[in-house]
Amino acid sequence: MIRLILKRIALSVPLVIVVTMLTFVLNNMAPGDMAATLLQGEGSNAQYEELRVKLGLDRPVLEQYGDWLGSAAQGDLGKSFFTGESVVSLLNQRFWVSFSLVIGALILCVSVGISLGLVSALRGGFIARAVDVVSVAALIFPSFWVAIVLMSVFSVWLRWLPAVGYTPLTENPRLWFLGLILPVISVALHSITTIAKQTRDSMGDTMNRDFIRSLRACGIPERAIIFKHALRNASLPVVTVIGLVTVSAISGTVFVERVFVLPGLGSLAVEAALNSDIALLQGVTVYFTLLIIAVNLIVDLSYGWLNPKARVE
C-alpha cells in the first residue's frame, strides 16, 4: 500500500507540471494582461509597456513559466500581482470554505444517495421508479441553476436561510452551518441521484448472485446478508462514481461559490482569471490538481480494501 501511495505521489509531479503549464500558456493567450488590469484602462501606451517590463510580462512565456515553476518547487507560489498578498496565505484562508462545501456535499450525497439506492433495490416498486425518473430529471438542471432556485425559494421567499455570505466555523457554528445548507444542496443534488442509481443497479445485481442465495439457504437473516455480504460487493462501482462525483463537486464549487458569494477557492479562481492575476490563478490550479489527485488516490486505496483481487496487483 505504501508503494502505491509513493508511486502516486511521484506520478502527480508531472501531472501538476502539465496542468499548470497549460493554465499558464492559455491564460497568456487570452486577451488582456495583468498590466492592463492594473491600469484599469487608463494611462498611456508607454506607461503600459513600462509596467509590462516591470512585471516581467515582456519575456517569452516559457521563460516566465520556468521562473514560476522554479520558485513553486521551493514552496513559494509567489504574490498576487493584484493585492500583493502571498498566494499561499490567500489560498489557505479560502481553502477551508471550499473544503467544508465539498465535504458537506459528499456526506450528503453519499448518505442520501446510497440509502435511496438501497431502498429502491431492495423494495423496488414506486421508489425504484421514482429514483429513475428523478435521476434523469436532475441531470438536466445544472448546479448554478439549482442554486438560484433554492436561494429564491428558501432565502428570498421563505426567509429561512441566509442568501449569501459565509461565517467562519470558529466565529459562529450555527451561522456557519445555516449558510452552508443551500450551497451544499446545490452541489450535491446531481450527485445524489447518480449515486442512488449506481447503488440500485449494482445492489440489484449482487442480490441475484448465487452466494446470496446460499446465505439465504443457510438461514442467515436478510439484514446481515445485505450489510455484511452484499453491500461490500455492490460498493465497488459506487466507489468509482463517488470519486467522479467528488471531482465534479470540486469543479461545481466554482459556480456555486460565485452564486452564494462564498469566499472559497472556486470564487478566487474566477476573480484571478478575470483580473489576469496569473500567480494567483496558478496557485488555485495547483491546489485543485492536488485535491483531485488525492481523491483518486483515496478511491484506489478503497478499491484494494474492498476487493481482495485488486489488492494483489
Binding site: 448472485r209 448465487d210 452466494f211 442465495r213 446465505l215 443457510c218 455480504h229 476487493n307 481482495p308 483481487k309
Partner: protein, 277 residues
Amino acid sequence: MSANTETPLLSVRGLNVYFGPFQALKNIGFDIPTGTTLGLVGESGSGKTTIGKVILGQVKAESGSVIYDGEDITNASRSRRRGLGRDIQVVFQDPYSSLNPTRTIGQTLSEPLMMAGVTSRTDIRRRIKELLDIVGMPADTADRYPFEFSGGQRQRVAVARAVIAKPRLVVCDEPVSALDLSVQAQVLNLLNDLQRELSVSFLFISHDLTVVRHVSHRTIVLYKGEIVEEGDGAQIQDAPQHAYTRTLLAAAPVPDPARQREKRQRWREMRQAQLNT
C-alpha cells in the same frame, strides 16, 4: 435404494407453481429417502431449478406440499426457515458467483457453522480444516480468496460449505455443468463419497442424463413442468419409455463421430415428429 420402506426424508406432493399466468410446475410429486440421491433431469425451462427453489423456500407454491422429515415446510415461517438452513443446503451451478469474492474461504465456510450454533473459534477452525481435507483442498485454502482458485476448486469449496454443518439434504443445482469433464468426474465422486460418509440425501438437478445416472438412486425426467418418466438411472437411460426422454438421450453427444452422426440423424427425426404433433 435401501430405506424405501421408511418415511422418506423429503416428500413432495401435488406441487403446482405459477409465474403469473404461466404454470411452471404441474402436479409434481416425488420422495427422497434418507441417504439417497434423486436425479432430476430436464432441459432449460423445464422447471427443475424451480423445484429446488420451492424446497429452499425461495419460490412460493400455489398448491401442494413439501414434507421434510414428517413436517410440512411448504409455507414455513421465516424463523422456521432459519432453522431449516441447518438441515437443507444448496450447491449452485456457477462456481464463480457462488462464493463471496470479498471474503476468505475460511470466512465463507464458517458462516453455516455459526448459524448451526458452533461458536468456539478453535472448533470452527478444526472443522474447516477437516472439511477442506475431505474435499481435497490444500490446508492453506482457508486464508485465501475465491479468485485464487479454479472453477473446479471453487466448486469443491461450495460443496464443503454445503455439507460442513452436517445437513440432511443438499439441493445440487447443476453442480458440475460449468466444469471440465475430468473435473466433473472428481466432483461427482466427491458427492458419492460424502453421501457414504455423512448419509446425506441429494436432490441432484441436471440436464445431462449420463451425469445423473452416475450419482442417482432414482431419476425423474421433467418436461415442461411435468414429470414424464420415473425410474432408476440405468433403466431410464437403457430403456426410455417416454418420447421426450428418448429425444433427450439422443441430444447428448457421444465421443465417436460415426455413432454421433447416426445419433444426430435420429434426434432430428424425433424432434421433427415432436414438432408435428
